[in-house]
């Protein structure tokens, strides 16, 4: 047996995992190109990018650390309100707003993580749901601050870093969102391929073994929950900066559910699931919605059932894989 080679191969393979795949280059180049090539779809693309980032933050939790959440909109909405209020009261410079929103949402995540980490999946689902519902009620009741159900308007959006205007410039604001997303994707990729990221995967894969090789499970999970909350807050802030109103729908159950659905449709645990899922979801919503605006929910529901029936971690791709697998079934099963 040629052991030397296999060893070398597996080391190379390990390094390759964290390297950028050519498809990723293509993706980001295409995304950059769309700034110039698809002006008519900038609004939709901006939404897709923001949802992608939001889904990415959930992927960090679910796909890498195995924490289920049905209330992730709590951090998204909190970030959005913080960004809006900060812009109204201090400065309308967007990057500063993002940072403030990210920190605020992260702190909220840190504070609530202690509640979330206990118990089983089901308990987590319910607790995260409960946190989001409470946040929603708070935003609603503090209408003197948040505008409540009427929404919060009048948020100034100054040029980014004082030089790059995005207010009412769809192309610029799309470019801005895209750049922020790229930076955060880059950071997320570093994180998930770091020793810290691997330890999360270890906790997800087998918490018992993880703690018995000396990983402090809870500390790591608190850390990733904080990071994810912070990401969600930044996504919320981005939406606040690119939409003229922040309203209660930023924080509602529907949003928490939608982001989970998008992520699952796209697949968890490879960072791009959220992109794929949100793109499919929003494009479907837009185009099926144009054909049958009232009943597109039926088809989304149908898609979910089918995905749940046939797909696993990789979302829609599992279905393609299955079909492909069935087509070349002459090969023996492993």
């Amino acid at each position: 047996m040629n052991t030397g080679n296999t060893v070398q191969d597996s080391v190379t393979a390990l390094k390759k995992k964290r390297a950028w795949h050519w498809l990723e280059y293509v993706f980001w180049l295409a995304a950059a190109a769309s700034v110039f090539l698809l002006p008519s779809q900038h609004a939709l693309l901006t939404q897709i990018a923001i949802w992608s980032l939001f889904a990415l933050s959930l992927d960090l939790l679910l796909g890498y650390a195995g924490i289920v959440s049905l209330g992730h909109a709590a951090y998204f909405g909190f970030g959005a309100y913080v960004a809006a209020l900060f812009a109204i009261n201090f400065t309308g410079e967007p990057i500063t707003g993002l940072i403030v929103a990210g920190i605020a949402a992260g702190l909220l995540g840190l504070a609530t993580s202690l509640l979330v980490l206990r118990g089983t999946d089901l308990t987590r689902l319910m607790v995260t749901l409960g946190i989001a519902l409470v946040m929603y009620e708070i935003a609603n009741q503090m209408s003197w601050l948040t505008g409540g159900a009427d929404g919060l308007t009048g948020m100034p959006v100054n040029p980014v870093l004082g030089i790059f205007p995005i207010y009412f410039r769809p192309a610029n604001s799309y470019a801005y969102v895209l750049i922020v997303c790229f930076v955060l994707f880059f950071v997320a990729k570093r994180i998930v391929h770091s020793p810290f990221g691997y330890s999360l995967r270890a906790i997800k894969g087998n918490p018992l073994r993880a703690s018995s090789i000396g990983i402090p499970n809870n500390l790591r999970l608190i850390a990733v929950y904080t990071i994810a909350a912070s990401y969600a807050g930044i996504a919320g802030a981005l939406l606040a900066q690119t939409t003229p109103v922040v309203s209660l729908t930023y924080i509602d159950f529907q949003r928490s559910a939608d982001v989970l659905l998008m992520l699952i449709i796209g697949g968890t645990g490879y960072l791009y699931g959220g992109v794929v899922g949100s793109a499919l979801f929003l494009v479907a919503q837009k185009f099926i919605g144009n054909i049958t605006p009232q009943y597109w929910e039926f088809w989304i529901g149908f898609a979910l059932v089918v995905i749940a029936l046939f797909a696993r971690d990789r979302g829609v791709f599992s279905i393609f894989e299955r079909i492909l697998g069935a087509l070349r079934n002459d090969k023996a099963k492993p």
Partner: protein, 286 residues
């Protein structure tokens, strides 16, 4: 004061009848069935169509609503749910949310998105005074019907062979199978009854909760709270939780209306944080 108590009990009973099926699915089969409210809605709409469109007497519509929801439940269990028993909770959540979307859209398509109310016979409307305590007739009916259901459930569970086989299956599935109990069938039947009860609850509750296509999502949270606070190992747990929730909600809103919106959620979080394992003793993570 006593009126508040009475209202709370009626409200809680209603929650219980709808949610007890969910406790069964969650506790017995370790299945997160977010679509449970859809069966309640279907039962409600079934009664609505019967009474308002075909003029069937209200009381006759209740058993039909039960059967209708139960049959659909059984069908869904045998064809779809059965594929998800060994899947993760997350996949179950996805699948059942998908079902909710589909049922909501279908109901909207056939019956419209307006709120619907079942035409009640005149003798069920209004209220009477009982030693100074105002008693709503319909609420009294709810309490009576639900109490009857509770008693029948207890009798079936406690005194029939099916009941003991069911309890055996809940206690220890593996051993029950090994001793000749067809656990799959017991569960399917139980699932159907749970759906039927939800349907019956939906029909009974239409007057108070109101029927609309978004019913399953709107009340999902309440059902989940009942189950998560009450636990799933018996029907007494969810029953007590329902009554507690009903009275707590009603009383909380009466005495502190400003904070009514927070109370339930906060209680749920606190309970779950303090006793996550105790409440979901059977629902260990997969």
């Amino acid at each position: 004061m006593l009126t508040i108590l009475f209202d709370g009990i009626a409200y809680g009973m209603l929650l219980f009848v709808i949610a007890c099926g969910l406790a069964v699915t969650l506790g017995l089969m370790n299945f997160v069935n977010l679509a449970h409210g859809a069966f309640a809605m279907l039962g409600g709409y079934c009664a609505y169509v019967l009474v308002n469109v075909y003029g069937v007497p209200f009381f006759a519509s209740l058993p039909v609503a039960f059967m209708f929801a139960a049959m659909i439940g059984l069908l869904a269990e045998r064809t779809l749910y059965v594929h998800f028993y060994n899947r993760s909770h997350l996949e179950q959540v996805l699948f059942t949310i998908g079902l909710v979307f589909m049922t909501s859209a279908v109901v909207d398509y056939f019956l419209g998105s307006q709120q619907r109310f079942i035409n009640l016979p005149a003798y069920l409307q209004g209220r009477f005074d009982f030693f100074g305590v105002g008693i709503g007739k319909y609420r009294l009916l709810i309490i009576l019907v639900c109490a009857l259901i509770l008693i029948v459930l207890q009798l079936i569970l406690g005194y029939t062979r099916f009941g003991s086989r069911l309890r055996a299956a809940v206690d220890d599935q593996r051993i029950a199978r090994g001793l000749g109990i067809n656990v799959n069938w017991v569960f399917a039947l139980t699932f159907a009854v749970g759906c039927g009860l939800a349907g019956l609850g939906g029909a009974l509750g239409a007057e108070i909760l109101s029927l609309e296509p978004h019913f399953p999502l709107k009340f999902m949270i309440y059902f989940l709270i009942v189950v998560s606070v009450g636990g799933t190992s018996s029907i007494t747990g969810p029953f007590l939780a329902s009554i507690l929730l009903g009275i707590g909600d009603v009383a909380g809103k009466y005495y502190a209306p400003r904070y009514g919106g927070f109370v339930i959620y906060t209680i749920m979080i606190v309970v779950l944080v303090l006793r996550p394992q105790g409440l979901f003793a059977r629902g260990t993570s997969k």
